[in-house]
């Protein structure tokens, strides 16, 4: 069925969308997902018909992207498809994915709809590539759609970045001849835990952000020498800069013009643009929708015919382009100017803390039950996909308990993609109660629908703790602290059809047993680790007494990262900050820590 089995000389006739799917398989992609939306839909439908690539519809574009990120982390080249407005839904993971980068190549396809044949707006998603500082490829026909996938995946891995493949209706739905190529050989890309790369807490994200700015400079150098950006000689004193389908209109309208064909349209190749200006005295940018290329050319100080001639809305065609440019090309040529290339941006040097002084990152509070969950989970060797909340602090030393933190609600989708790409329970998801309601639910429904195996830990501390204890649908608490109706997490999960158990997170034995049981169980399961935030209760559960004879200063209790355990002199010391949660008692192997006092009869 697939062209892999066809002789390579044979040509086939593909829509742009079919070509993207075939091109992805040829480039070694093993995972495709998306949400249907015209004009993107047929990419995934085609992928589903092809062998050798897993294809699934996701619940929405955000979950689709997070799932693809999980598959990429697991080492499988992944493609995620959506229409232009779908990228708005996926914008949260998309923007931060630029910082984390990828493991195996990851291509995001945005199919835009100029003219709004089947859409509620005609936003120009090329702006997203600039916004996220990632490379963008724009094929202009089916052959390029097919070929560019290999380049997109290669760029993604070489530059450690997602790549935006942007099409429009006429590329996606237009059909043309495609010469299939031999499959791209792949190197295996094993998953390697890298907390400072994948957990975007502020201190790590600041470092990644500088790398993104440097990467953009490197990508611009690549854009300058990319074979996708071609300066084509003409005979007329007119140069045209264009990308995507607009390039085909311009070539047909002005066959004698010089053209700079941009297959890689972000970042722009400034020097190549300048070379076009050395050949001709008049240059026009032919592009649909926004003056995306035009404004950047103008910023080089170069005169250009742009949106004053070419319509800023709707679709173009060769007639529109010809009629629009004809009056301008007969005008007297503008005075030649030398381009002024923008200097490389100044990138802030990392702030070095004063030498010799210990830094003080935020930590999980004494008695916080998130810590107990991490201690109970760590023996199971599941890559814990994290999310955003107090529990993200568990990624920092000494716990090192999370492998990823991309955006709100991302943990479950990433776990699903990771486990499906791996074909087993290799990852777990850790998500707080407020974050679960924010956007974890949709991912859980998706994981159920797409039969992703995995363990989801909902750390339910009955509040939105990190931001200062606000209410959420699971507590029913309103901003004025009055009580409204509340949603029960376990009943919600069971309503979806997902196996769910709730355990008291203060009961370490029960927590440990529940996690053990769920890790060994097949398929998808949720454990709600329930305990109100220790800052809201401020109850002291007991007193920890140190048996100085037995303490051998091994440091196991220090390694749980509790601020109430003081540095050992002759034995560890428990400070006033202790809440008596007794997690340190659980980890001590010598029985040197004993919990006394308040007994609740549990």
């Amino acid at each position: 069925m697939g062209y892999n089995r066809c002789p390579v000389e044979r040509t086939v006739f593909f829509s742009g969308n079919e070509a993207i799917a075939h091109g992805a398989v040829r480039a070694g992609a093993g995972f495709a997902c998306g949400y249907p939306g015209t004009p993107s839909t047929e990419i995934l439908e085609t992928a589903a018909r092809l062998g050798g690539i897993h294809a699934e519809w996701c619940i929405n574009e955000k979950v689709a992207l997070e799932t693809a990120v999980g598959a990429s982390l697991a080492g499988v080249r992944s493609i995620v498809t959506m229409k232009h407005v779908g990228l708005n839904v996926a914008a949260d993971p998309f923007m931060t994915l630029s910082l984390t980068g990828v493991n195996a190549g990851l291509v995001v396809v945005s199919a835009d709809d100029p003219g709004m044949h089947s859409s509620q707006n005609e936003q120009d998603n090329r702006n997203y590539a600039r916004f996220a500082k990632i490379p963008m490829l724009e094929p202009s026909d089916s052959q390029e759609a097919y070929d560019f996938l290999a380049e997109a995946f290669a760029l993604s891995e070489e530059f450690d970045t997602p790549v935006l493949l942007r099409t429009t209706t006429r590329v996606s739905h237009g059909r043309g001849r495609v010469v299939p190529r031999v499959p791209v050989p792949l190197e295996p890309r094993e998953y390697a835990r890298d907390i400072s790369k994948y957990v975007m807490v502020p201190q790590y994200a600041r470092v990644r952000n500088r790398l993104v700015l440097e990467r953009l400079q490197a990508l611009r150098r690549r854009s300058e020498r990319s074979p996708l950006n071609v300066l084509e000689a003409g005979t007329a004193d007119l140069g045209i800069i264009a990308s995507g389908v607009a390039y085909t209109y311009a070539r047909e309208a002005f066959p004698k013009a010089w053209s700079l064909k941009l297959g890689m349209s972000n970042p722009l190749p400034y020097a190549k643009i300048a070379r076009l200006y050395e050949q001709v005295s008049r240059v026009a940018v032919v592009e649909e929708l926004d003056p995306f290329i035009e404004e950047q050319v103008r910023a080089l100080g170069l005169p250009v015919i742009g949106k004053e001639a070419i319509p800023a809305d709707g679709e173009l065609d060769q007639d529109v382009v010809f009629r629009a440019l004809e009056p301008f090309v007969t005008l007297r040529a503008p005075r030649r100017r030398r381009p002024v290339f923008p200097p490389a941006p100044h990138i802030t040097a990392p702030l070095e803390p004063p030498a010799g002084l210990p830094v003080r990152p935020p930590v999980l509070c004494p008695g916080c039950t998130h810590r107990s969950v991490y201690i109970a989970m760590r023996r199971h060797k599941l890559a814990p996909m994290g999310d955003i909340g107090c529990y993200t602090l568990g990624a920092l030393p000494p716990l090192l308990a999370l492998d990823s933190c991309l955006c709100m609600g991302s943990s479950i989708g990433m776990m699903a993609g990771f486990n499906k790409a791996l074909g087993r329970k290799g990852a777990a998801a850790v998500i707080g109660d407020s974050t679960f309601f924010h956007s974890g639910i949709t991912a859980l429904i998706d994981a159920y629908y797409n039969e992703a195996p995995g363990l989801v830990m909902v750390l339910d501390n009955r509040t939105t703790a990190m931001t200062g204890h606000q209410g959420h649908p699971g507590t029913g608490v309103r901003p004025d602290r009055t009580q409204g109706p509340a949603v029960d997490v376990q009943r919600l999960c069971e309503g979806i059809g997902v196996r769910c158990a709730t355990v008291d997170a203060n009961d370490y034995g029960a927590l440990d047993a529940a996690i053990r049981a769920e890790v060994d169980a097949p398929g998808l399961g949720v454990i709600v680790a329930l305990a109100p935030c220790v800052l809201t209760t401020r109850e002291r559960a007991g007193e920890i007494v140190v048996d100085e004879e037995r303490c051998n200063l091994c440091g196991l209790c220090i390694d749980i990262g509790c601020p109430a355990i003081a540095p050992p002199a002759t034995a560890v010391e428990i400070t006033d900050a202790c809440t008596g949660c007794a997690l340190c008692v659980e980890v001590c192997r010598r029985g040197a820590l004993v919990c006394t006092g308040i007994e609740d009869g549990a």
């Binding site: 803390p353 003080r360 935020p362 030393p397 003081a566």
Partner: protein, 197 residues
């Protein structure tokens, strides 16, 4: 430039840095001065380093400043760290008896610094070393370390007793106002004549 005075308040999340900054800002406002205050919250309650900046003068433009004329530090290590942000001949009012040990020190990867007085002297910084914990305990609650320290710092600031009283009343919740007024007064009294010059 120097017509704007910058006070930085540093400490550990949960120590009440934000409240102390609010009292200071309200006090400056009660003097009829222009005030801008700025802090980074979010993770402030989770035991990380916290910095709040209060700037006052006839007209304040920027809400932030790299350097401070006066630093109020509710924890010794944070006070030591803040020496780097003091202007020459600046003043550090520091709760020297309050030591909150960070995780890296607990794990013996780092050492808690013990050179505050020497480093302050070497930097030409005037150090007001305050036993704010003792004063707060005397006032009735250990949680008033921040306000006791602010009382000590008030001796280095050009505000009247009446303005401080109004600042405290405006920023501190009514049910804990009295104990905080006590802590403030104890802090102010704790700075002796020789300390002030």
């Amino acid at each position: 430039m120097s017509v704007t005075t910058t006070v930085s308040l540093v400490g550990v999340g949960g120590q009440g840095i934000l409240l102390a900054a609010a009292i200071l800002a309200e006090t400056a406002a009660a003097e009829g001065l222009d005030v801008k205050a700025s802090e980074v919250k979010g993770m402030a309650q989770r035991g990380g380093s916290v910095l709040s900046t209060v700037r006052f003068g006839s007209k304040v433009w920027s809400p932030v400043a790299r350097h401070a004329d006066l630093v109020v530090a509710t924890e010794a290590l944070e006070g030591r760290r803040a020496l780097a942000m003091l202007t020459p001949r600046g003043t550090l009012v520091c709760a020297v008896t309050t030591r909150i040990v960070p995780g890296s020190v607990l794990r013996r990867e780092d050492e808690y610094p013990d050179d505050l007085a020497a480093a302050a002297a070497a930097g030409g910084v005037r150090l007001l070393a305050v036993d704010a914990e003792g004063l707060a305990r005397e006032a009735g609650t250990l949680r008033a370390v921040n306000v006791a320290l602010l009382g000590a710092a008030s001796t280095a600031l050009p505000f009247t007793q009446e303005s401080w009283r109004r600042g405290l009343a405006a920023a501190v919740p009514a049910k804990i106002l009295e104990v905080n007024e006590r802590a403030f007064a104890l802090g102010r009294e704790s700075v002796g004549e020789e300390d002030e010059k």
